[in-house]
Symmetry: C2
Subunit: 225 residues, 2 copies
Amino acid sequence: MKSPSQPRDRGIPEATVARLPLYLRALHGMAERGIATVSSEDLAVAAGVNSAKLRKDLSHLGSYGTRGVGYDVEYLVYQISRELGLTQDWAVAIVGVGNLGRALANYGGFVSRGFRVAALVDADPEVVGDTIAGLNVEHIDELEAVIRRRGVSIVVLATPAAAAQEVCDRVVAVGVTSILNFAPVVLTVPDSVDVRKVDLSIELQILAFHEQRKAGGPLMAVDSQ
Amino acid sequence: MKSPSQPRDRGIPEATVARLPLYLRALHGMAERGIATVSSEDLAVAAGVNSAKLRKDLSHLGSYGTRGVGYDVEYLVYQISRELGLTQDWAVAIVGVGNLGRALANYGGFVSRGFRVAALVDADPEVVGDTIAGLNVEHIDELEAVIRRRGVSIVVLATPAAAAQEVCDRVVAVGVTSILNFAPVVLTVPDSVDVRKVDLSIELQILAFHEQRKAGGPLMAVDSQ
DNA sequence: TCGACTTTGTGCATCGGTTCACAAAGGGAT
DNA sequence: ATCCCTTTGTGAACCGATGCACAAAGTCGA
């Protein structure tokens, strides 16, 4: 038995990283249905990508496939999980318990696979003290203390736009380096901090653009020639 | 006075389209603060991008700047809005009125700028008939009728994963060609349909990957050498 | 009117990512 | 043991996006 493959290139392309969770989800589905082995072609279809891309993506983690056979589902699940860091437990704090924050707190996909909502924080005295999704909502004044006490390493910002930068600065100051931002603002952070942004309104605007194109584009009647 | 610029290239890069809403937001903020004119440099900073990129993006819409001066804020707002198709009114239906659907229905950023939540639909008899964000929740059996009656052209899927594909097929069958999908599944649609996907769990997983990297990567202790 | 200064718009080099297409590797049948 | 068949892993061409750097274009003050 040969030493199991390349020691995983220390520079996985960002585009690949963004697709690994997709593969992982597809693989989990297959594992549940009792599938033991899968070809790049089948997995690619399940994940909605091209099979050459899938193989190249997986090759960045090492050679975990068997030529002529495919990939072992269980083993691949483990390797991807490990690469993504899902074999450990991540404590997440949600700041801002409005409609969106509440939805996130209750969102099943959050809790599963390595993530645990460890704290809910809000500024509104009306909701502080409430229990949501089994958690007590704490006051924003306690932000730093809560983050430290619960070992929070990922913060989800679901505050109003106006409050986001200030909260962001505070959590960065206590050492948080991963932020998922739902507030419609461009956050300013040190280079060492990762911010991912989810902006519902931007997604809609992109759809509107394409929808309009299908209908003939702006100024379609005027701008003909 | 020269004929106002190039007739807008009929092929705006996807990457540019994705940034236009960002510029638009920054510009709205400036307009509110009474700023009449802005340089590419200032606007780029406000939008969190590089100024050369910003200029190149705007150049795809035509030459709307004045050398030595910058861009007229009002005019640029109008041009971008028009390009994105925000000068018209888009009727949006939200299918699935769970925590997330509710949050979306109440989300302010949705309603603003061209989008209007025109219908809420759910399968649960418990919530059908309820009024949320001023709208009556209708039964999923009415889906096709509601879409046609209200002129819905964009559908937001906030259903459980298991229901998403079926709902998707149904709305596509009535002619909807723009879908914003929050369900954690890969939707299968004809090429003519645009699907954008927002996946909270994937965003978290990407953050976890980078967070783990900062801490030394997987197998850091073992895999040294 | 002219010249100095500012800022746009873009040609060009570069980079990361995608896709093709195939040699190498392994399994299974005979 | 050998051959055939399947499927991986990857070299190489391609494609779109990014960023530099500068000429062109326009403003403003004298």
